[in-house]
Amino acid sequence: MTLLKADDITVAQGGTPILHPVSLHLEPGEPLVILGETGSGKSLLAQAIMGTLPRDLAARGRVVLGDHLLDAARPGGFRPLWGRQIAVLPQEPWLSLDPLMRAKGQVTEAHHLVRGMTVPDAGAQATADLDRLGLAEAGMRYPHELSGGMAQRVAIAAARAGGARIVIADEPTKGLDAARRDEVADLLLAELARGGGLLVITHDLALARRIGGRMIVLREGRVVETGPTATVMGAPTQAYTRDLIAADPENWELRNRRPAGAPVLTATGLAAGRGGVRLFSDLSFDLTAGRILGVTGPSGCGKSTLGDVVLGLAPPSAGRMSRSAGLAPTAFQKLYQDPVAAFPRHRTLGRTLADVAPRHGEPQDRIDRLMPRLGLAPVLLTRKPDAVSGGELQRLALLRLLLVRPKFIFADEPTSRLDPITQKQVIDLLCETATTEGCAIMLVSHDPELVARTADHVLSLAPAKASEPDLSGPRVKLAGHLG
């Protein structure tokens, strides 16, 4: 029996189609993965099926859900099914729990108000749900006291408390590191095993591989390829799918190891902490020109703090960081995780770059010569940072560093916010920079595959000795103070 069937779903914005007809069906016990990059329309498809599209977007098409026949053009009709037929798992669960309500209450209220249980029964059921997910002690905690993984599980319990059989998970691994990504996949599969259907929307190839089932690949609002996940990922028939699969770090070719060049930096017995928690200690390594040192480890293990120490932005609590003699003060540079936040917001990129070149005695035309090398169009220079795509901006950030002829670059998760194909381009450019500029690089990534295929050496940081509660996941930011 088909749980959900969607026919010819389209989405248009002001008459312009942004999602071309897509049909899909969801069977019990068989997950469906919708794979696509940013702008592929994969989230729009999910929102059209749930009736949660923003108001300025118009959907068309037919959705059959059990014995309900729904019109995608009238999203109001979907509302009664939320929680009862469809459970929606939000993108960032730590932002999706009410910050002022304890975890258990958020599950209990769904049992009580949606399924109609009495309050004591609902409470008992919520306790049982949380126990089953291994959250026995977390019920009395507030969301900000939960780790990312725990918040994810509370959200699953809350989303399914209304009795829905179909789970729709939109980018469930956004912002999670590799270990947690697998945890989420297993959790979703466990829910599936209890009967019902699972629809996963993602750009994450590793997640898709782990979920399995069937797959729809979307690109720019059109279906590229469909089929069983294992087949599509093992033997893609379309060029785009092949590029996408090839961009998965797991499928990258190994980078040739570089011979040791001139020494750039030496770290001896480094230790550092944050907020009273010791992050790492007795860390010793040295780095020579042209080599890449990969740094991996779970969230919160101190990768960024290590960067601050190496760059001289923070003092180590023990040990010594020494730069090779004769290096300019600006020889050590950093590439940021969020490139938008690394540029002045109110200036055009051209002006920002033009300020850098003369300061270091570089001719202005060095910018013009670097642009094509990094695959960048000159028109980008007239824009401000928020009007450029993430991949382009990260390449512009790299260009800005190259203007000062750095000898060392600390690249802090430089591609974690990029789509796979873009990620590969940026990492390739970074490797090329190490070779052509004779630059030492520390490449931080939460993806062990990426590091293994790129770096000459790997430094694995262990999780910080976390005090209870485990706060290693992304945390909810405290709302700004008034005034």
């Binding site: 760059l311 540079q333 950093k334 936040a341 002045p344 917001r345 850098v356 000062v404 005034g483």
Partner: protein
Amino acid sequence: MTDAVMIPRPAGLALRWTGAALVAAALVLALIGPLAVPGDPFAQSLIKALSGPEPAAPLGYDHLGRSIFHRLAAALRLSPAIAMAAVLTAGLAGLGLGTWAAARGGWTDRILTILADALLALPGLLLVLIVLAIVPGTALGFWAGLSLVLWVEFFRLTRAATRAVLASPAVQATRLLGFGPVYVFRTHIWPEIAPMMLTAAAFGTATAIMAIAALGFVHVGMRAPTPELGLMMVELLPYWREAPLALLSPVIATFALLLGLTLLAGSRDT
């Protein structure tokens, strides 16, 4: 203050222009009015007391037979002038101290913040009243008292915004690239705080004009026969039935000016 970003609403621009137009109208009346219709705000003519408009006095006469039009024009020069002087002083002080506190941190920051927090707990009118009792000269007293009250807002805004900016990756990147504090201020800090300064200045001017008028209205501000908005209202209140226009003129002018400044300030993100 994580989201202290000013997001102008779509309708905001039209409202701001309306505000600018209202303020401009008040200033035109104040500055150009007396040139178009010459007259003396202090000249009394008891025969004309409370009589209606005529070409030499387009808004009629008050209870002492003085031209309301010319008194209003003078009043619309007086309070805005004091207010702008106070806002300028307070703005410069707040901007300087706020940037300094954010950049230095440590005890400099702590002491200035404690001082600003304490001033925040005191009603502004009260401080102005006390300063008025100390400083000789009412206009000077208003300027000093209002500056003392108003710098706190500029300080808090500047400090919060500057701290956030200085802690951002963008500034770290700029410093790593070898730029100094002047470049950081020019390219990172100033573009963030400039729009806030404009808003705070408009609000501050409105606050100052309100304070001068309120204290005039309860007889503890400017003294007669100075033409001042609040004082004019309380003087003309007893003659409301005989000469409603006489009272309405300062009321409407004050409201228009304050509304204009409020609209000009735009929505403040709290």
